[in-house]
Every structure is written in structure tokens, then in C-alpha cells.
Amino acid sequence: MISVRNLVKHYGQVKAVDGISFTIRKGEITGLLGPNGAGKTTTLRILTGYLQPTSGMVSVDEFLVNENPIEIKKRIGYLPESAPLYPDMIVYDFLQFMADIRHIYDKEKIKDVAIQCGITEVMHKNINELSKGYKQRVGLAQAILHDPDILVLDEPTNGLDPNQIVEIRDLIKELGKEKTVILSTHILQEVEATCNRVIIIDKGSIVADDSTTELKSARGKDIRINCVIGGTTFEGIQNALKNISGVKDIHHIRDDGQLCYIQILTRADIDLRPDVFNCVKDSDWTLYEMNREYRSLEHVFRELTVGM
């Protein structure tokens, strides 16, 4: 439903976005992840029709962003970075103004949205009196007012306190059940918590584009199993474990007389823990500890953007 092809955007000499392509299907919550300055905001701004691409093409449904921007803008609800609203307006007036522009004449709609975003108690306040969390919610209310098919959120939880973050994330997940959501963030937990698909952008290009679970499992990458075993020596363990297929390498961490700390290197897509356990059991040693390192999105992100 959203299709981006070879998108390029230059600001003078600076290449902010350098040939990005992706397709987003209906009903996905996609996270645009990347370090600061990677080109996330620029991509979203082009998608929403605020910026014009230097080259490349963006389409939503059957409409092209440079031919039919108004039609696209009708279908998108957009929360820009740090929710820039009209500071001198009263919240209710602001939402009323937005409703008028979107041709929504049902007064109940504003109330419903206010309840959904939890802003009923600030409706009569001036926007510049609101805390950052409330501003963000008013911005979100404005974005979902016209029931858009597509919701574009630029760093929706930026600058919020932990409670507010959880609330906003829950709201996004709720909205994602019936809408297509694209959100940008540089916070990894956010993507892990809310998105079912991740596009990682670095220096204006896509470095990874996959489902969250797929990225974390990372086929072909190595992972470690840490064990603490008693009643034997490192040599004994090494001789026993090297016969298990899938073991790439065994490191000796340390030995404190009774316990032997080791690290087994293996592929990420297989789980060797049962084999290790059986081996220990058969040899009559004692297994004190065993854990398989959890491969977080953080690992993936650092690997892809810094190369470590």
C-alpha cells in the first residue's frame, strides 16, 4: 500500500537519503530505526508530502506523492517530530480546526479521540501550557482524528517519561491493529516493544529490512553459550563437547579449582543446550550454570551501523 522506490534527497551537498526502497503492506507496524541523522525524518517528511524528493518515487495506494499530494495527505495521519502544534491555541480549538480541515463535522469524533488519547482534562488549556507528554498526545489525537489508513509517527515517545512512554506505546499497538503504522525512532526497545517489522537505516541507506523476530534470530551469525561445570577439567570438557555437531569453538574463561567456566561458540539458529546438558549428565559432572546469550536488537543494530 505504501511503496518507496530509489528515494534520494539532497540538502545542498549533503545526501540525507541515498536510494531507499521499501514496500509497506497494510496492517504492519513498521519501525524506521537508525542513529541520529540517518535520514529517518527526511524519509518520513517525503512520505507525508512535506519535502520533495531529489529523485525517486513514493506512492500510497494508487497515488504518487508528487502528482496527487492532497489525496495522499487525506489518507495519512502525521505526527511530526516533537509535535509542533500552534502554541497559542486552546487544545479543543486546535482539534476543531483540524477537524474542519479534514471535513469532519461530527462533534462526537473530537470527544472520542480525546478519550482515546487521554487528553480530556486538558481540552480547555492553551497548548503552550501543556507538558511535553500531553503535547505529544494532542499531536497524536490530531493524527488519528480523521481515521486515516496510514499513521506516520516521527519519534512518538521522544522526551516522555517512562510511564508516558508505556502509555503511548500501548496506544500505538492498539491503533496498529487496524491501521498501517510507520514510526521512526533511535530507541531499540521501542521497536522491540511495538513493531513487527524493522527497517534499519544508516547514512541514508537501508542496512536491514526484516521482521523483528527474524532480525533477532539472525541466521548465519554466531552466538555464545556460557556454562559453569564442576567435577572435571577444561581438557575433559573440551574432549567431550567437541563431538557435538554444531560446536564451532570452546573457550576456557577461568578455572577456580572446582568449577570450570567455559564459553561455547555456535550458530545462532540452532540451540545446543540440550546436547550440552546430556553430555554433562552422561559424563557424571555437575552443571552449575548454563545460559544462551540473548541476541538483542541492540546487537544487530550495532553490528549493522558500527560494524561490531
Binding site: R45, T48, G49, Y50, L51, Q52, I70, K73, K74, I76, Y78, P80, E81, S82, P84, L85, Y86, P87, D88, M89, D93, F97, M98, D100, I101, R102, Q142
Partner: protein, 241 residues
């Protein structure tokens, strides 16, 4: 026609929002007060000091006064949006740039009309003590609205160029003051150029209307100033995307 109606509908929404914006902050009241104090001085100095029951002095200096006041009204219209970032929200709404620009010019023109409306009291008091020619009074007010619209479009253009309101004011003021004063220097230039300079002078066209003579050329002049500055604003907003 249908499309024109649709365009005006969006523009009216913007105008409504901007107009109420003027009255929800002190700036609107400050501008109106400053204007009324100066206009009052211009009017009453001829009314009492010279004992003349007429509005001529007031209308004569109105272009100069507008060149100062109107850019102060329009300076925030785009510059503030660019500065706070709400510009991004505005430009991603399902509105065309024409609708946004038209709405903002409309708001500033309406505000200026509200600003000059208390001076209708002068016209009434003049009518009580003397017997003024009604033509120039009507012409003066019609011309004032046209002049306000023209300067408002120039001011909106100035505001569309920058995110700094002071810069927007100075650019708008510079253009408007030239259009207001250019005929005052006609003594120094070759007579061949006089009609050209008269044609580009807002003051000249305004004074014609304020004399009570409505000529299509004067109307066309103001219409073209509005059209050219609106197009320049639209270009500014579109090209810098």
C-alpha cells in the same frame, strides 16, 4: 467554479484560525492601538487645529502608515510557523499552498479592516459638523481595504521567506515604503519616467480611489500586486521543500 468554491473553503478555514489568533495574543491589540493613536492624531490635527471638516489628511498619510503597520500584522504569518515547526504540520494537511497563502492574506486584510473600522467615527463626526463630499469618504475606505490587501500580500510574501519575524517585518516594510513613497520623489526624475513611476506607486493608485474616482486601472493595479505577491509566496513555499 466548483474548484474555486473548494479552494475558498480551505482558505476561509485558515483565515478564521489566523484571525482569531490575532485576538488571542496581545500583538493584535497593540497594533490596533498604535494605528488608532497615529490615525487619530492625523485626523484631529486638521479637524481642530485647522478647523477643516474632512478626512483628507488622514487618507493622504494612510499608505505611509500602512507600510509600517501592515508588515507588523503579517510578519508572523509564516515566519512563526517556520520557527515553531508547525509549518510542517500545516503543509502536510490536505490543503494546497494556494489555499494556505490566500487564507493568510485574507486574515491580514480582515484584521486591517477591523483595525480601520473605528475611524469611521471620524467620517461620522465630520458629517455632523460639516457637509463633506460622500464620494471621497467611501472611496477612501474602499481604497484603504484594497491597499491593505495589497500590502498584506507583500507582507505575507516577506514572511514566507524567513523564519525570523523581524526580518520578515523589515523586508515587508522596505517593499511597502517604496511603493508608498516613490511618487514623492518625482521632482527629481525625468518627466518621461513619471508615468512609469506613477504606475508602480501604490500611493498614486490609492489617492486616485480616495478622490472618489474609481478607475479600472487602479483596481487592476491592486489586483496585480496581490496576484504577483501571492504567486511569489507560493513559489517560496513550494521551492523550499
Amino acid at each position: 467554479m466548483e474548484q474555486f468554491k473548494e479552494t475558498m473553503k480551505g482558505a476561509t478555514l485558515i483565515a478564521k484560525k489566523e484571525l482569531s489568533g490575532y485576538f488571542s495574543t496581545p500583538i493584535g491589540y497593540i497594533v490596533i492601538s498604535v494605528f488608532l493613536v497615529i490615525a487619530g492624531f492625523l485626523f484631529f490635527s486638521t479637524f481642530f487645529l485647522y478647523g477643516q471638516a474632512e478626512l483628507r489628511a488622514y487618507f493622504e498619510l494612510l499608505p505611509l502608515l500602512f507600510a509600517f503597520v501592515i508588515p507588523a500584522i503579517t510578519m508572523r504569518l509564516f515566519a512563526e510557523e517556520r520557527n515553531t515547526g508547525s509549518f510542517e504540520m500545516l503543509m502536510t494537511l490536505p490543503l494546497s499552498t494556494i489555499q494556505v497563502v490566500t487564507g493568510k492574506i485574507l486574515a491580514a486584510t480582515l484584521f486591517a479592516s477591523i483595525m480601520i473600522s473605528p475611524t469611521l467615527v471620524y467620517a461620522v463626526s465630520v458629517a455632523f459638523v460639516g457637509s463633506p463630499d460622500i464620494g471621497p469618504v467611501i472611496g477612501g475606505y474602499v481604497g484603504a481595504v484594497l491597499l491593505a490587501a495589497a500590502y498584506a500580500s507583500i507582507g505575507v510574501f516577506a514572511s514566507s521567506m524567513t523564519k525570523n519575524q523581524i526580518v520578515a517585518f523589515i523586508i515587508g516594510f522596505a517593499i511597502c515604503i517604496v511603493l508608498s513613497l516613490i511618487t514623492k520623489f518625482l521632482y527629481f526624475i525625468s518627466p518621461k519616467l513619471v508615468s512609469l513611476f506613477e504606475y508602480i506607486s501604490a500611493d498614486y493608485h490609492f489617492q486616485n480611489i480616495a478622490r472618489g474616482v474609481v478607475d479600472s486601472r487602479n483596481i487592476i493595479y491592486f489586483a496585480s500586486v496581490i496576484a504577483i505577491s501571492s504567486m511569489a509566496s507560493i513559489y517560496q513555499l513550494e521551492v523550499r521543500r
